[in-house]
Symmetry: none
Subunit: 411 residues, 2 copies
């Protein structure tokens, strides 16, 4: 199977403000054909650097997609650079020029002289008409390498790719299918997890495995590439059937659902409701739970108790308990969760109290409470991380405690 590279052209894509996002769309399209994207490059509007990038890509890969640089101005150099990299000339097409002029006239404007630049085509290229803009695309096959020159605006690029590049690629490529699966886990570090599952995934040859640490969670991405969709589906299913038991309850979703979506579905299925009592996180847990649309089906609300006084006043935590154990303690976390459950009348309540830092003693020490119809439990966590992560990671543990509890409860 051929490999692909994507070259995004435009000096604005080399500023701190802009990212090339067309490549995500193109990667998705190419992957679906069984083509891997092996490199992505961003280059500015500079003839020599651009020509050099094109030559490099063509020497390594069999498909080269160029996006951008097809506009009418002096610094739109993709046409010139491709022609010069391939040693071909640029040929003026009067019929393209007429189409551009007609398009601009339809907007009630007069064609500027520099729009003529867009009517130049690399010798031997197939022209890809553009319904959405003035810049036509180009399709060139040179020494077994396919070059696609596509306009930068996504509204122009996408229909051109799907309408004109896809059919051409499908004719060129052997039939292949890719199937993927995401296993999302919480409660285990990246290297421990890798050590546990690498003996499995390294045995598979057609399977690409990626392990990602995302905000305190670990996500495992399995991707199978086979001759038929059935084979690919069988392969990811088989690998994930081997990997899942090793991770056990740590796997919270296999379909890309987030932790808050998973607990939402569990609560909804059990007709159960939830509330929160937050100190260190001061609302982040509630904010995260309600990131899910329709979370009002199960989320009642709760309390942000950022001072001892508020814990006493809003949650009914006994002042003596705080005096004796401090506000960051197992008994206070328990009393907070129970206070939220009683105060809102919810079935379940989660509490978080801790030292987020950066200053003071015991930074990173957090107690997380869960009150439920059959009693309460508290987990103690010690994070080495900074304020932002102490707070974010603590919401993971809270949601995970609830998830494990809900899974253990019969419907």
């Amino acid at each position: 199977m051929p490999d692909a590279e994507i070259i995004a052209v435009g000096s604005e894509l080399l500023t701190p403000q802009r990212l090339d996002t067309n490549s995500l769309y193109l990667t998705d399209q190419l992957n679906a054909l069984g083509v891997e994207v092996v490199r992505k490059t961003v280059v500015g509007d500079e003839r020599e650097r651009l020509t050099d990038s094109i030559l490099g890509a063509a020497a390594r890969s069999q498909i080269v997609v160029l996006t951008g640089g097809l506009g009418p101005t002096e610094d739109d150099l993709t046409r010139d650079a491709v022609a010069s990299a391939l040693g071909r000339s640029l040929i003026f097409h009067q019929n393209i020029c007429d189409l551009i002029e007609a398009r601009i006239r339809a907007f009630g404007r007069k064609m500027a002289e520099n729009n003529r630049r867009q009517a130049y085509v690399v010798e031997g290229a197939e022209v890809l008409p553009n319904d959405r803009g003035t810049a036509p695309g180009q399709w060139i096959v040179n020494d077994g390498v396919v070059f696609m020159l596509l306009p930068g605006p996504p509204m122009e690029l996408k229909p051109m790719f799907e309408g004109q590049c896809l059919p051409r690629l499908e004719k060129l490529l052997p039939p292949q299918a890719i199937r993927t699966r995401w296993l999302r886990t919480v409660g285990m570090g990246e290297s421990d997890l890798d050590q546990l599952i690498s003996p499995v995934y390294t045995r598979y040859t057609n399977l690409a495995t990626t392990i990602l640490a995302v905000s305190g969670e670990i996500h495992i991405h399995l991707r199978a590439r086979c001759a038929t969709p059935q084979e690919a589906e069988t392969l990811v299913a088989q690998a994930s059937t081997e990997i899942e038991p090793l991770l056990g309850e740590r796997v919270y979703s296999c379909n890309g659902d987030s932790l808050e979506e998973v607990i939402g579905n569990l609560l909804r299925a059990r007709h159960a409701s939830l509330s929160v009592a937050e100190s260190a996180t001061a609302g982040l847990l509630g904010g995260r739970i309600t990131a899910v649309p329709s979370s009002s089906d199960y989320f009642r609300g709760g309390f942000i108790t950022y001072s001892d006084q508020m814990k006493i006043r809003l949650l009914g935590v006994p002042a003596e308990l705080i005096a004796e154990h401090s506000a960051v303690s197992e008994p206070v976390a328990k009393a907070m969760a129970e206070g939220a459950r009683a105060g809102t009348g919810s079935d379940y309540a989660l509490s978080i109290t801790g030292y987020a830092g950066p200053d003071g003693k015991n930074v990173g020490l957090v107690f997380i409470g869960l009150a439920s119809p059959d009693g309460s439990e508290v987990r103690r966590v010690q994070w080495p991380a900074d304020r932002e992560r102490v707070r974010a990671f603590s919401t993971n543990i809270a949601l995970d405690m609830l998830r494990r509890k809900l899974v253990s409860v019969t419907h």
Copy 2:
């Protein structure tokens, strides 16, 4: 002045789901030193392709920044590829290994065997310690080309770059003074703002002006590049003295402080306290206020009232008020803020109630209340945005209402 290239390493960055965003931060930092980024590359975890990318970059540019691929697993290949591109060996450092082990032990876990991979350093490299993770960075100068090997997670990369790469780069580069100023504003759209201030900034030649829309706020970045610090300082000061009066009270900070930091400082100076009552945002406002260290000096806490029942029960909003006006209305926003103020005994209280969507009627309609010692006020906002932005943008308005109120109050 030398040019830079950035190579982001990681097969996950070649999937349709992920973008390399570290390069935006790095570009901003390098630009501030007067260094242009001329190419960005994304390559997967594959030894040969990675080595080839490193060799290409080193042949073209004088600064090569590599991000990612420093983790503990088999597919973390940046160290190996750099060593092999430069023809140097990798050397095991026992002291780094000890630090990694101590760090992992602090989490209450045992170091996995593969973490030892992270203790290998390219021969002759300076080690860049990592306070936030296990992977140390590396700084190598080879044939006049600087290589920086930085960890992928932004929380680890940023402090390492600022603390350790910046000072080294400043020593290497010709003196050029760059002075910047951030004017942060809230309450005006990007194009209206640009129309207002562009007649000013376009008159300056040595001044780069960038206008950024950031989560519903507009930030204006002024950057002067001159031969001496004095010249650069004078230039940004002059430009910002011209621009600020045009924007008036919309400018909330000139030093990069966030809106939550600004209101924190205002509250602290007035010995005043704050609480919240959140419906649509369900904790995001509290979470944001407490992102500031020591926010417990002025933030008391509050209420997450995600149902009518909770608004009645926790905040004392009269049931008839909700029945008559609905929960998303001016009177209910007012009653929520007043209920939070009374319930916590704080000087000020903010409330948010609205329809975040995506389904249902009036999506994007939000009422934001402020209760203060001299009465209450409510703002009605209609956002055209999606759920995530309706929620995030509403916290901007709430904080900005409080800011304007506090500014108007004499100390």
